[in-house]
Symmetry: D2
Subunit: 343 residues, 4 copies
């Protein structure tokens, strides 16, 4: 039984961590912080947790957090980088769900996130928490940078093609659609149901913060720079990401179906669907799975990959717990072996 | 470990049984029948079950079902009453999620369901599977009539008032709103998303099949006939029932809040919210809980009860598994101790 | 051709006024004010108005508004009462979509709206803009208090029963469901799509501001005090209100269907559906119509009335334009004769 | 005043024609046919049309239809081709909203639609009803093949790039998202709200019937064959199409913004948004407009075009009326000059 703390427990990734960890047989949640709701019972804010979480939001306090074995940061960008160092020094493992440690280049981070990085030295120590790429490193890590939701769906979808060298990495396209919970629990006009319901739109077409994270990962997989056009969209549903990926195949059409099946054969949370399938995002709603299908329309040179995840589970809190399981030597699927809600 | 069969595994209550039972530590699913999809892998129809259910739909066959310890009927009305007797004779426990054994009066059943009852003798043997009323009888039963979704939400909401005699049972009103999954998985024009999305409507205002089931239960609780006006509505969401109940209190305003808290103090799946709360249906989405709040607007004589459930869980498959747990001596909450998906 | 101004053009009732008035053959929109967006083109904020509205938001300025023939207030409560007097003195007709002039009793207004009324003398001058009750008074008025959305649906639904004395006015129940646009265009956590989508809830069950407005209107129609239990609910759709109304009939069951048809026979915007119908809110989405049906379940003493409107049209901006048409001697249906969007 | 008939008035494009034509000042609707609902009042099936359409569905009958000046086919594929010839011979103009006359190559039609074409001779006589390309031909035509919804959004989005030769037409990608009304008003399991709500999916990724229609149009614009990868998706909303288009620019980055503005400067229903905009589908909900924006992410060689329409208006019935207006010499925008519903 380990002791876990959550910094920033009032956002969607925070409450999703609570939902998962409340039923984790090896974890006791001992601290949940919130600046705005300190003093309030967690289950008063989230009545779905009644009878399962008997704890009160507290102010973030490093001394108190230092009594945990692991601390999750479910905070806006820029918070974890201020507190991680002290916790690490005190022997606490840190799992950051924000973007603070995702980019290896602090200068690039400043460019996309609009502030200087507070602890560039820690960046190298952080392991990018995508188990399908970094499983062994995660096991050894004490600081995890959890991948973003878009990057998880896009990288898992492209990896087999990119790693195998079958695709032209200078012309990759990722057309990705996200449910509205991806925007977080923030009072914003643009995210009202009256604004986002019954409508579909692209946003940040000229450049989204997840772009450098994705290209960093794909470049590593390719062993060379990649050029990606990434257009995110908002779709009127709450949970789910659907990535539609396009790549130009080199030379002869390979058996991409088999390539994908082989790559993910032993992965507990990546599932390649039979040829001809189209994954619905609902297949993975509330679960930690990624479902993928792949095809070559009209037998042509363009490979189309469809990759779906739940943005709050495999795209955030579920993947964070998957890393935690690896870091503490638990079974990788512990507390994550749930089934999607259907319908 | 018991062996379970599901007759009618392709509807929403069927697949919800599969979702719950797949993770039940004491149950092995050995038969899932479907007339239309026999021969198909269950996870080909329901990709959300991939990696968890390794079974093929088969034609309904009593001999095969008789090898089970328990058989669930997740069938349209009129099917279970044709097969239950034979299974019972062979020592199989039967849990019927349809309406076949809910009404004690076969004549009334014929009136509301438009066909003669095939085995009126069995009706008496059936126990109405509402554990909050019939827990001990359920433990002894071999034939369970699972309550309908509306009747579950309405009865749990009204019971404390009706049992205590505090309310005028000749003037009860139940204004109930259901998500569209309550209509089942049937190809009907009226249930297309284009028809039900972004719109709200009442239906069957002049009389719905669940009315006699509710009044039967409430009359039993009251020890006298009750008169209920019940108006069901369709609300544009998939899961959830919200019952808004109105009753005229006798004499002085009693402390209804305490009445409710006391009545349900020991119930694992009924949760009375603090005074002033309004339960969202999302609080219980995907979980077996019923959340209830109660108030007397303007301190007046009218009690207003708000009662929410997930129509497919506490209103159907979850409640069926709760009965099964009781019948087989398992912990009542086994495999049901999950948390609602939020957001 | 009259000159119209809109104060508070950035909310949903403001933009709905723009949508309707932009195609009104007798109206020129000359001022649209917004404190937050002054200087911005209206169609930059609302691209749906491109090619139809060539105007820039300006700061509210009485001198400029005084050049209008009519000024609409689509503002939060408490604004119109500060500006109306001066405009009226300058001969401008004022149509207030907020609650400032709805309640005849300034003390009651203070109680429900939490502030003292700034110009109680004007309250008497204001005509309650429900044409189905006050048509002739509206024609003569220079200050209109537009009814709230809930009050419109509930009053139109109850009026025939209450006016005719057929119903017990001490035990009226209004269970009303609203789409989320009723909450307005405000950045509130509770109105995010992640919070309101796929969920249903009651709110303000112990007392909502629209209660005194409804009872004021019904008491006037009854010629005696009325007691109403009013429970508003939030339903996961954008537009539409569905009121389900319950009343106890006196003595013999009257022919309520004929009563309703007769009451509304000459009303251009109230439509009584054939017996046995259930109106969908989508029937009136985007239109100024109210559709009503009525029944007596099980032939009993309880009358059930179903009444639907579009909260932003007949419940706000459409009804405001209907009043404007009457005030200026235009055809009552001018610019309002549109059809609901289906599906 | 012309006389119009609608064959197949019970589908979504049929009722949308009714909504538009009911308010068209130059059109009298004299026949609306339906095999399934003959004898029923149109407004009994569609209560949104009450007070506006006083007509009864009749069986399809060429003699009766021949009394019309124009007949719209809002039928499944394969019906118009059986009736068009006789109507044309009798001097009736025919506007077909189905796919029967869209493809110039009868053999290709047979391949994609699974049946032999019944009147290949008429194909040449049909004018493809995209006014932005064929305005003059439409004015002279007596047989119009209305474009499909996807083809309208994709062609309008790609035309400026393809006509100007700025883009590599061998590597076009169209990632398109449609609301569920695009599937029509058919009782299909897959289109239930429980199936399509709160989920996102691609379909027909390996080949959709609209592909040959789009490539036919783009090849004509390019003057050379084009290769298009077209992946349609289903998004959980009712109305709207959002096309995200990707093309590789030749040589230097041209000023694509100006190119688009110039191309559509005089088009009443195509609106190029300012640089940096992202059109929401709600901007055009219920209106006949197409809104387009274009950008080159990271200043690169890939042009991204965003194009939105209402699939039932500009993608079907509105565009059909636009063609009708042109054919009969009415103002092109007559009865189409409405504003989108927002929110």
């Amino acid at each position: 039984m380990i002791r876990a703390g959550i910094v920033g427990g009032t956002g969607y990734t925070g409450v999703e961590l609570l939902r998962i960890l409340a039923l984790h047989p090896e974890v006791e949640i001992v601290v949940v912080t919130s600046r705005t709701d300190a003093g309030l019972r967690v289950d008063a804010l989230y009545p779905s947790l009644r009878k399962h979480i008997d704890i009160v939001f507290s102010l973030p306090d490093t001394a108190r957090l230092a009594q945990c074995d692991v601390v999750f940061f479910a905070t806006p960008n820029g918070t974890a980088m201020l507190m991680a160092e002290e916790l690490l020094e005190r022997g606490v493992k840190v799992i950051d769900l924000s973007a603070d440690f995702r980019l290896q280049d602090a200068e690039q981070w400043r460019h996309w996130y609009g502030m200087a990085h507070a602890c560039p030295d820690l960046i190298r120590r952080a392991v990018y928490g995508l188990p399908e790429v970094n499983r062994e490193a995660i096991k050894q890590a004490d600081l995890i940078a959890c991948p973003g939701c878009y990057p998880t769906a896009v990288q898992l979808g492209f990896l087999p093609l990119v790693e195998s060298g079958l695709v032209d990495v200078r012309h990759l396209i990722a057309d990705v659609k996200s449910g509205v919970s991806g925007a977080g629990r923030k009072a914003e006009l643009a995210m009202l149901m009256s604004e986002t319901g019954e409508s579909f739109k692209a946003y940040a077409a000229s450049g989204h913060r997840h772009l450098p994270e994705i290209t960093q990962g794909l470049a590593q997989a390719a062993g060379s720079p990649v050029t990606l056009t990434f257009v995110p969209h908002l779709t009127p549903m709450i949970r789910g990401i659907h990535a539609t990926l396009y790549g130009q195949l080199h030379g002869d059409a390979a058996d991409v179906q088999m390539l994908y099946e082989r790559r993910y054969r032993n992965e507990p949370f990546v599932d390649v669907l039979p040829q001809g399938s189209h994954p619905d995002t609902r297949n993975v709603r509330g679960s930690n799975h990624c479902q993928i299908s792949v095809c070559q329309p009209q037998g042509g040179q363009t490979a189309v990959v469809l990759s779906v995840i739940d943005n709050l589970v495999k795209g955030a809190s579920g993947q964070a717990v998957q890393s935690m399981n690896l870091m503490f030597g638990f079974e990788e699927t512990l507390a994550l072996n749930t089934l999607a809600l259907y319908p």
